[in-house]
């Protein structure tokens, strides 16, 4: 068998494609140590005169707060949002996958439909809604809708997962005297854990990158999350410090990168329980 030759081919391909994948990250990291004039002056990855300037100044920011504050704010949004998403989507997916009730098809249809309308046009009505709720300049608009299973993608995904998990354990639990909520908590959630981890990870990364939401709903600088803080000083009509922005970009990407690497095993296993059977 020519497995070794196959492996050589595979590795060559993987490394070649992998480099293209990694290039921007490598460039980003390299450039974050460059001086401003060097960033666009030459295309090399390694800085000629490496400097930590970008990191130091970038961390200080032009606000009364350091970048740490903005990370903390991001965390304050991500934490309830992720937890809320996981809980609410698990509940809702459980409802869809395990129970029959009137209008189920229509309700499921709305889940798909919410994915389809470009949100540019719902932005203003939504803003006015949150204004009337008195939620402006708080984190609430950023996570409450998600915590009410508002992210259709996740609901859809978890429903698919659940459909692939046999019901036997749940029945065993019911015979053991558990009610449906206990069954959900003690049996379904642990078995769904890999899928839920994937949901949390996706939500983590997307929230970390979301710029427009915080921009519109948060006006106080002390409440800015990193995504917003990152663009705080980019004024295309004036000059600005590229290396600070790149340095902070690197810091912003880092958590997602680490989390993905650590979780990717669960992540992939997680989806495979549900991915197979439509």
């Amino acid at each position: 068998m020519n497995t070794s030759l196959g492996n050589v081919l595979r590795y060559t391909l993987l490394i070649a494609v992998g480099l293209i994948m990694l290039y921007p990250l490598i460039w980003l990291i390299g450039a974050s140590f460059k001086t401003n004039s060097e960033i666009f002056g030459n295309a090399s990855i390694l800085p000629e005169n490496p400097t930590l300037d970008g990191y130091i100044k970038g961390w200080e920011t032009s606000t009364p707060y350091t970048f740490g504050r903005f990370f903390w704010n991001s965390f304050l949004i991500i934490l309830p949002k992720t937890i809320g998403t996981a809980i609410s989507c698990a509940l809702v997916a459980y409802g869809f996958a395990r129970f029959d009730f009137p209008y189920k098809k229509i309700l499921f249809g709305t889940v798909i439909a919410t994915l389809l309308l470009p949100n540019v046009v719902t932005r203003i009505p939504q803003y006015i809604l949150f204004r009337d709720l008195g939620w402006l300049d708080t984190f609430l608009p950023l996570w409450v809708p998600s915590a009410l299973a508002g992210d259709a993608f996740f609901v859809f995904m978890l429903v698919q997962f659940l459909r692939a998990i046999p019901r036997d354990m749940e029945e065993a639990a019911r015979v053991d005297g558990a009610n449906s909520l206990q069954t959900l908590i003690f049996i379904v959630v642990p078995m769904l854990a890999p899928a839920l981890i994937s949901v949390c990870l996706f939500q983590f990364m997307w929230t970390m990158n979301d710029f427009l939401g915080p921009l519109i709903y948060i006006s106080s600088v002390d409440k800015y999350p990193v995504s917003l803080a990152l663009k705080l000083s980019i004024d295309t009509t004036e000059s600005f410090e590229w290396n600070r922005i790149l340095a902070m970009s690197v810091l912003t990407i880092l958590p997602a990168l680490i989390v993905f690497f650590l979780a990717q095993k669960h992540f992939i296993e997680g989806i495979s329980t549900g991915g197979v059977k439509g």
Binding site: D168, E171, A172, R174
Partner: protein, 360 residues
């Protein structure tokens, strides 16, 4: 008191499919009742209605005399062992066992005691800290059993608990479960069992009584020996026994059974009536090579160790005869002509149309 009574029990599934057709069955307190039948005959459906996992669409289920139709599974004083064990994959064996008690709010030390007790009975103490995926099939089976035992329920429900095990393990688990049932009974613990299987060996060896089902109907309820020796109808006759009973289409002519151009003289005086089309039933063990009887071509000889199975083609029918290997030494005589002599006391005559056993 944990008798189980099914009264005109019906099940019609959402799609309108009628799976159970109003069956009646009384299972006495402490009885080991086996539900047996081919795949799809609604054994599981019946069991699950008793468990409360499936809505009852007609009739009643009574446990200990009390109608339980509207109770949830947790309230029915039952425990169930599933075909694939349905162990909670994320919990250690100990927690799997303790889960029901925990839900019931039993204090921790008591739970601990109960777990240890059950583990001792089932000899699974060394496994308590493993996860289900670290168990072999037989071990998982015992844990599933333990999970049912620990609740000290009135009724045990089993849904093909052994079908995922290999033959050897199945044999030993069979013995273990029956012994356990006896033990519980002698300890005075009410332990009514409703045991679903499609394996007739299990049914025969385990049940106090056996209920044979087909297509949502009960075909016969009887103890194993009666079922084996006096099957009520064609279906039961064909279903029970290994190798299968030979069932040969033919007709009755005078005092003989006629198959093609061969005549088998019989004592037909006992028959209440003479069917138009008859089926002759005889078990392979009750056929011996001899001078008289039915003659055919030996198609194939199966060596089974102590026994051999002779597969003989008699006209269009195939008959199997089982005899000690010592009596039939040569295995390579395929193609030979063989005459099989049935034991006259072990012959059955069935009415082909109604399926009834007329010779009972």
């Amino acid at each position: 008191m944990a008798s189980v009574d099914l009264i005109n029990l019906e099940k019609t599934y959402g799609g309108g499919f009628r799976a159970v057709h109003g069956i009646n069955l009384n299972i006495a307190d402490g009885e080991f009742m086996v539900l047996v039948g081919p795949s799809g005959c609604a054994k599981s459906t019946t069991l699950r209605m008793v468990a409360g996992l499936e809505e009852i669409t007609g009739g009643e289920v009574r446990i200990g005399g009390k109608v339980v139709n509207s109770l949830s599974p947790g309230e029915r004083s039952i425990a169930m062992v599933f075909q694939n064990y349905a162990l909670y994959p994320h919990m250690k064996v100990r927690s799997n066992l303790a889960f029901g008690l925990k839900l019931a709010g039993v204090p921790k030390p008591e739970i601990r005691k109960a777990v240890d007790e059950v583990a001792a009975i089932l000899e699974i103490e060394p496994l308590l800290d493993r996860l289900p995926k670290q168990l072999s099939g037989g071990q998982a089976q015992r844990v599933a059993l333990g999970r049912a035992l620990i609740k000290k329920p009135g009724v045990f429900l089993f849904d093909e608990p052994l079908s995922n095990l290999d033959a050897k393990l199945r044999a030993s688990m069979r013995v273990r479960i029956t012994e356990l049932h006896k033990r519980l009974k002698t300890q005075g613990l009410s332990s009514t069992v409703l045991y679903v299987t499609h394996d007739q060996t299990e049914a025969m060896t385990m049940g106090d009584r056996i209920c044979v089902m087909q297509g949502g109907h009960i075909m016969q309820v009887a103890d194993p020996k009666t079922l084996y020796n006096r099957p009520a109808n064609l279906f039961v006759a064909g279903f029970i026994g290994m190798p299968e009973m030979n069932l040969i289409d033919g007709r009755l002519d005078g005092d003989a059974f006629v198959l093609g151009d061969q005549r088998l003289p019989l004592d037909l005086s006992r028959l209440p009536r003479r069917p138009a089309q008859a089926v002759l039933g005889v078990r392979p063990q009750n056929l011996t090579p001899g001078a008289t009887g039915l003659t055919g071509t030996l198609a194939h000889v199966e060596f089974m160790g102590h026994d051999v199975n002779l597969h003989v083609d008699i006209g269009p029918a195939r008959m199997v005869a089982t005899m000690p290997a010592a009596d039939f030494d040569r295995l390579d005589r395929a193609g030979d002509r063989v005459t099989l002599t049935p034991d006259p006391s072990a012959l059955h005559i069935f009415d082909k149309d109604s399926g009834d056993n007329l010779s009972l």
